[in-house]
Amino acid sequence: MIEWSEQHQMIRDVVQRFIREEVVPHLEDLEHGDLPPYDILRKMFATFGMSELARQRFDRQVAKAEQAEAGEIPKEEARKREGDGTGDGAAMQLIPIIELCRYCPGMVTALGVSTGLTGAAVMGKGTVAQKKRWGLDLLTLDKIGAWAITEPGSGSDAFGGMKSSARREGDEFVLNGSKTFITNGPYADTIVFICKLDEPGVDSRDRKILHFVLEKGMPGLTQSKPMKKMGLHSSPTGELFLQDVRVGMDRLLGEEKALESKAGEGRQASKATFQMERSGVAAMALGIVERCLELSVKYAKERVQWDQPIGEYQLIQEKLARMEVARMNLQNLVFRTVELSAQGKSMSFGEASAMKLYAARAAVEVAMEAVQVYGGNGYMAEYHVEQLARDAKVLQIYAGTDEIQIRAIARDLLA
């Protein structure tokens, strides 16, 4: 794939129009007010028939999972990714990400965590009954999801330092713990809570990792108000507190089988989620970089100092040239993602990590340079590059920090 197809370009145009008409007028409220992004995202899903596409995908996945449960096809067959030959499926998911990130990367985070992380966790780990109970509503955005892994004491060392626990009492589990930096945490209807099984005598690092599905309003579950943060204001982030939340086996993703798994399996399953998340970051970075470049070029042509546009100065030209190099690289990485998806393939973990590392750094460098091109104006909230620069920074922190990506790349190379 070397460029967007005519259909892809049409999708870009129509999504751009939606953003111009439905997102941009609310940007101020999303960024500096208290407007959660969900109604606009739901409108986007309804407008473009994305809910219907999600429902069709869901039906196909469930049909396969049912066949696998009945022993009609091997389990691996049910999990296998199928290429559509065209990459249209991937393109239809990535294009809205790119376009939204040109204006509002926070909306993509809120959307991605709800459908991509939470929905995918239920669809990947749940039984057929669990997929039907929670999966569809998450994939169609009828319900907002949160995926709760990070804790006050555990970030990069997510599993090792994890204190959240599930204690078995007869047929029930008693869940305790606190989670932080949880995207959609304040408003989530459905929460995938990741914790360790209380296994007396087993070292904390070797305990089984379990995923439970919780719902808003359950006794013992508290969802905090949105936290104040540097950027990504349109993505509500919060804390979750669990105090003796009692749940049955029906809320443990995978049910009894999850308890039979070996200690490392839960971690492996989460890695698959990290990988998908890392691919999405390249598309996010592309949106930010495209917008920053576009604004910087425009400003370099218009802003006059010493009687000539600042674009005539080589120091500004160097910045623009570096931005263009980043844009081309990111564009090619996104095309590679689409191409792999067309063939039903995915990147290696090391490769996905390398892509995420590059994309995050490129987005931050470009956005900060865009502020520099704009000078004093760039530092003012009135000019959009200020918001994008604050938003971009999170790409180097969430979904695995730069340092964690470097470790994953090195491990892959040295294995």
Binding site: E6, Q7, Q9, I11, D13, F18, G49, E52, L53, M92
Partner: protein, 260 residues
């Protein structure tokens, strides 16, 4: 029922427009294009009639290869098929030349209704729609802001000067040139865009339509002489001081000029 919708592809409203080398039009290379905004309302109105009952919507456009995208977008929104006049011989046509090409298609299709935008965002002539109606010998209404269908005829509301409205009834077949704002234009769904790939686009030349000798720069009675940026005016006076001072000075100026 069959409805023909005429679409024009125009430079994108966000595009930076530069004048071309010989000063006769704008530089079109690397420019982004979109469907003329007035025409999107025309298409939407046709699609609403289709949604309300049985209708085939045929979209028609003239222009080079890039126009395919405008037609595909219309097909993605719900139009059934498209006719694309892709012929360099049509380049340089005046409004009458364009109207002759479109009228030839209308005659061939013999629809119950033709819907167009009131004018184009780039040319602003408003000339083509009434010309098509005249060439096809059908009644027309321009600046349409409301359409109601009834047996065999249409009742439409037209916008007049000063906010007044006029209600007219037209027998079918007829042509409506619509004003912006008469409806809320839909978005093409992702599924619609993908389905548009399979919908037919019939590519034609002016000769195919039997108007080969009536179009192009040679046949045009109106020729674009010059396109230019008006020179910047002089004599602007900037009022300075506090808000009260500025308002005071402005009021004095207005009185001095006898505008109040």
């Amino acid at each position: 029922m069959k409805i023909v919708v005429c679409l024009k592809q125009v430079p994108h409203s966000d595009a930076r427009l530069d004048i071309n080398g010989d000063g006769t039009w704008i530089q079109e290379d690397n420019l982004k294009f979109e469907i003329n905004s007035y025409d999107t309302y025309a298409l939407e109105e046709a699609l609403r009639i289709k949604d309300a009952g049985e209708a085939e919507v045929v979209v028609v456009s003239i222009g080079p290869d890039r126009v395919t995208q405008a037609l595909r977008t219309a097909l993605g929104m719900g139009a059934d098929r498209a006719v694309h006049v892709n012929d360099s011989a049509v380049e340089g046509s005046d409004a009458l030349g364009i109207a002759k090409v479109l009228a030839a298609i209308v005659k061939a299709e013999s629809p119950d209704l033709v819907v167009t935008g009131l004018m184009s965002d780039d040319g602003n002539f408003s000339a083509v729609p009434p010309m098509i109606a005249e060439l096809c010998d059908m009644p027309s209404a321009t600046s349409v802001l409301k359409v109601d269908g009834a047996n065999g005829s249409l009742t439409v509301e037209r916008e007049l000067e000063g906010g007044a409205m006029e209600v007219v009834e037209l027998p079918k077949p007829c042509l409506l040139a619509v004003q912006t704002g008469l409806n809320q234009v839909r978005y093409a769904s992702l599924k619609g865009i993908m389905a548009a790939k399979k919908k037919p686009i019939d590519v034609k030349t002016a000769a195919d339509l039997g108007v080969g000798d009536q179009v192009g720069a040679g046949a045009a009675k109106v020729r674009m002489e010059k396109v230019y940026q008006p020179p910047k005016g002089e004599g602007a006076e900037l009022l300075e001081g506090s808000t009260d001072d500025v308002v005071g000075s402005l009021m004095n100026k207005v009185k001095e000029l006898g505008l109040l």
